[in-house]
Amino acid sequence: MLVVNDAPTTLDLEPRVSLLDALREHLHLTGTKKGCNQGACGACTVLVDGRRVLACLTLAMQVEGREVTTIEGVGPHPLQAAFVRRDGLQCGYCTPGQICSAIGMVAEHRHGAASVVTDDVTTTPDLTPEEIRERMSGNLCRCGAYNGIVEAIVDTAPAMAEMAPALTPVPA
């Protein structure tokens, strides 16, 4: 049984079916995109128990009983409006992954996470554009809309921190 966007559904799947294919091909939630299908692009980013993960490298079986949130369960969200306002997209294919990733990223930061560009990892730095670029590096944009994406996240991060889900430990 999968819980996707608060809706419990029961699927009968072969064990190798990825969460990505379960969402797209079985539940017809095609907002989550299949880019590289090998963990290199971030287009398939979804939230599992509030944490951002790659749906292409997650088996549907692995998230049985856990809360999956896709772009369909996110909106309307202030970050989506900010992406439009700041030209954070061109073709839009990476956008659902960018939005889900940014929501997870802000929750991680609110939880106190440092990054590799944080000079002192015992501290939690402000979400500067440099920190945002590093923390969002798992989401590629072939149109090169990165400047707009970073601006949209800068605009929205304070509001998103208020909305951030509590991060529960991943193992059930």
């Binding site: 072969e14 064990p15 190798r16 963990g39 490298l57 997650t58 079986m61 990892v121 590096s137």
Partner: protein, 330 residues
């Protein structure tokens, strides 16, 4: 398609019974490497044993002042842990230097130790690869080898070990705890990964009926430490060269130095030769250069990866100089 079973046991004893009966079973942690390799046909398990419901996640202080890191702890939880950040910042930095936020949320510590090389000839089933198919040859030796290793290589394999975390664990002198039907044993990080030699398909000392259950860190050392990673782009890429370094200087003399290298070797590399030059000497640029030269003297390069020898030398020296500055500031 060959059928595959998926199981998610709740205790370690159940796991050990299961894998004893199924030698072609594979442990599944975060799946960030294994799922991709199954999709490519490189890994062909008959059973996937999901380890993430086992009671092995979490980080606790260990007897004697060290740390016990459960094997299914996620990489992001490891990097976020207060004790790791304050007492072993080198490890937090190394983990944060690897992969992306999404992948670190998935990947486990035990899985990271067992991840496979990203050598393109290993993943490409149409190329020969002694690691994938013993005896078939090595496509990388005469192929395009920019990412390949210059230390610890053999005539059979020059694939790089891809982990950042493991390089830091090597420098920190961590122990790996393995649990099997004969009980529990501990293996030093320096002995855990196997040089390719004539058997590049054998990568760790983990036996088919054993499970990594924890990584144990000794109490923190004196001095300052830092992880420096050099790659083709600023983030989300494997290392060309990485250096995990720890330096303790007292009264103008290096009391302790520990160095791990990533991106250049077939295993997470402990730079013993460099350490021998450093310990007891003054922390001068000349000594740092001599240490790097000693470590890299046995390097064997090919035209495509020869740049790594110079890049490793410069990265070792730059990291040590930075630590010298960090140490005198503190």
């Amino acid at each position: 398609m060959r059928p595959v079973d998926y199981v998610r046991p709740l205790d370690v004893a159940e796991v050990l019974t299961l894998v004893a009966e199924r030698p072609a079973a594979r442990f599944l942690g975060g799946g960030t490497n294994l799922i991709d390799l199954i999709r490519q046909g490189v890994e062909r398990p008959d059973t996937l044993v999901d380890t993430t419901a086992l009671p092995l996640a979490g980080i606790d202080t260990a007897l004697g002042g060290g740390l016990r890191i459960g094997a299914t702890t996620r990489n992001s939880d490891l990097a976020d842990d207060h004790l790791v950040r304050t007492r072993y910042p080198l490890l937090a930095q190394a983990v944060l230097a690897g992969a992306s936020g999404q992948l670190r949320n998935m990947a486990t510590v035990g899985g990271n130790l067992h991840q496979r090389t990203r050598c393109p000839y290993f993943v490409d089933r149409e190329s020969p690869c002694n690691k994938r198919e013993p005896g078939s040859g090595c496509g990388a030796l005469e192929g395009i080898g920019r990412s390949t290793a210059v230390l610890g290589t053999s005539d059979h394999c020059i694939a790089v070990h891809p982990s950042d975390m493991a390089v830091a664990l090597t420098a920190l002198e961590a122990q790996v705890e393995l649990t099997g039907p004969r009980g529990t044993r501990q293996v030093a990080m320096g002995d855990f990964h196997l040089a390719p030699g004539e058997t590049p398909h054998l990568e760790t000392v983990t036996q088919a009926d054993e499970l990594v259950t924890a990584v144990l860190l000794p109490p923190p050392s004196l001095g300052v430490a830092r992880y420096r990673k050099v790659r083709d782009r600023a983030s989300y890429a494997f290392a060309l060269v990485s250096v995990a370094a720890l330096l303790d200087v007292h009264d103008g003399q290096i009391r302790q130095a520990r160095l791990g290298l990533g991106g250049v070797a077939t295993t997470p590399w402990r730079a013993h030769a460099a350490e021998l030059v450093l310990v007891g000497a003054a922390p001068t640029d000349e000594v740092f250069e001599a240490a790097a030269a000693a470590e890299l003297a046995p390097a064997k390069s090919l035209p495509d990866n020869a740049f790594k020898v110079q890049l490793a030398r410069r990265t070792i020296v730059a990291t040590l100089r930075r630590l010298r500055a960090d140490g005198s500031a503190s």
